[in-house]
Symmetry: C2
Subunit: 339 residues, 2 copies
DNA sequence: CTGAAAGCGCTTACAG
DNA sequence: CTGAAAGCGCTTACAG
């Protein structure tokens, strides 16, 4: 028997029409149990698999979901988080019987948009966007097509108001960290963040600062680029103002660890002299010395809900009933040795 | 015009047969420039994309490559490395015009092997295996099918002798670290590794130990599980024997960082009291305090060569000429503050 | 319950 | 250079 077995080969062996083979292998109720079992046995013995292209062509679906990553994924700096997310997506999408295709959003204006290409060529049934600034033209086409899509991780922007979104409550995460430190009787705080407007980081910062101010705390705000080395530099330049405070919030784990490194090198004891907290619950945060207090974004929950929502959309794709759900996840304080 | 444009729609508008449309859009030399340009313009105006399933069906190819990850990918412990690899694969596969599909190798005996399923259903044109112990049954089927495949990262085992492989010279990496420490006049060394047989880690260890012994050094060998917390425990239990040596090699960065954490907590100065080196050049190694001397596996080179080799196989798939190449990459010493 | 037939959207020999 | 036709491997009304 050749490598390429089709339902016609099975039909010959089972002495039935290939329509019947198709029905049997698709578990149609229109076939007798006896015929069905005979066909299934033969197919199994031959290690038969449906040709996905033929099926996709006639059914107009691919059983694949694309995860769109931003170009930033290329920079390790702020995005080790994304790498970790991938394994969750793979696990869950796999369990649901879909394929996971990875796509990169190109950031230049692209006439030849890879996401739209995949939709139009029927390579995918649904889309997950894990990008901060989705291409607007792409958004408008997806919206017009009513193509199943969900946006994850980033807080919603006005352009996303017609879409399904799932993200974490960053404001609340900031507040949790502030509460934690206030409970430990800190009064003077340093926050290490970035001035450039970014909704997610803005909310982290605002949640923290609002809460601190509400309790009469004092904040020393420092700005740096959102990468380790820039944060190191910033801390070294501002070591004096930092040491006038007793608690430091790095807007993400990497920034917090940079601060930890600089302070350690200056013989400042953590958490005794200065408490440090981060945000993301990255792998880094567990392995640092001391381990870092941080915020858990509830990644697995996010992925789980994201996929479930998307699959509902895919199953109802023809009905054009868009649930238009906005899911906001509760962040979790991870109390560790650094505070 | 409807959302689903086919070559027939274009044919009508261009007033040619749809064969001619197909030829024009595939840049066949059998069409006049005038006709071709007319057709191309119309297709562009309509944002036409070929139906990938129809094309895949007739051409018997999918333009997709699957990256097979091991179940271990689920554990963050030893595999943050894999997360970083992904971005390289995505970048390069994307550049070559292929789709990247992620697959998990199931470790139980699977009648319903997902990798074979993807091959037989024509969902993929080639395979990259990033798994330590590929399923033997899968290997034998792939071999029989002469399906394009390459195995990356792990040193070859006997079962892989008919396949293309690319990996780093782990023995040499171990030697580089030994040489580096010997040059700094260390004589007594601790190595933190795992006793269970694993070719890659065995080579790292052997490369290191052979070189040390050749120079008359003394080795204190400690065993732990290959994760951060087990390494921490091991170091705490063996702090006495460790402090009798002046240099420590953690078999990977995570192990080395665990040692760094424990030693710091015991007020042991790094690198003055004890030098520490790791292996992998993981993100963690750059951000630790002090930053960690380690071995760079030349990840980008590995991915680049891997994809190039695979695409050559895909292009020659019909010719059944298997190049059977074994590519061994040179490791690189990353000298940092910890040694 | 089963089979013959049409059709999904392409590519490509074949004929002109 | 162009078109009509066959066929890739399926699904599913339609007829019985």
């Amino acid at each position: 028997m050749s490598d390429n077995i089709t339902i016609k080969d099975i039909a010959k062996l089972a002495k039935v029409s290939y329509s019947t083979v198709s029905r049997s292998l698709n578990d149609s109720p229109l076939v007798s149990e006896i015929t069905k079992n005979k066909v299934i046995k033969i197919a199994k013995d031959l290690n038969f698999e449906f040709n996905a292209n033929a099926r996709g062509l006639i059914l107009s679906k691919s059983n694949a979901i694309a995860l769109v990553l931003s170009n930033k994924f290329s920079y390790l700096d702020t995005n080790s988080y994304q790498g970790l997310l991938l394994k969750s997506y793979l696990d869950i999408i796999d369990k649901k019987g879909f394929d996971l295709i990875l796509l990169k959003q190109q950031d230049f204006i692209n006439t030849n948009n890879i996401v739209i290409q995949h939709i139009k060529s029927k390579k995918i049934d649904g889309l997950i966007f894990l990008v901060e600034n989705p291409n607007k033209e792409t958004l408008s086409i997806i919206n017009k097509l009513k193509f199943p899509v969900i946006f994850v991780h980033y807080p919603p922007t006005p352009e996303l108001k017609n879409f399904n979104i799932i993200y974490s409550d960053y404001y609340k995460g900031g507040r949790l960290l502030a509460d934690h430190l206030l409970k430990k009787n800190h009064i003077k705080f340093t926050i290490l963040c970035n001035d450039k407007y970014n909704e997610e980081y803005y909310l982290r910062e605002k949640g923290f600062c609002d809460e601190i101010k509400r309790h009469g705390g004092i904040i020393n705000k420092l700005s740096c680029e959102l990468n380790f080395f820039s944060a190191v530099e910033c801390c070294e330049e501002n070591i004096e103002s930092i040491t006038k405070t007793t608690a430091l919030f790095g807007i993400n784990d990497q920034i917090a660890l940079a601060a930890m490194k600089v302070l350690s090198e200056h013989e400042i004891k953590i958490p005794n002299d200065i408490a440090i907290v981060g945000y993301d619950n990255s792998e880094l945060s567990m392995y640092s010395s001391p381990s870092l207090t941080t915020i858990n974004l509830n990644r697995d929950q996010m992925v789980q809900s994201c996929i479930e929502n998307l699959i509902i959309q895919i199953k109802n794709a023809n009905k054009k009933v868009i649930p238009n759900e906005i899911i906001i996840l509760d962040p979790l304080l991870m109390e560790r040795a650094s505070s």
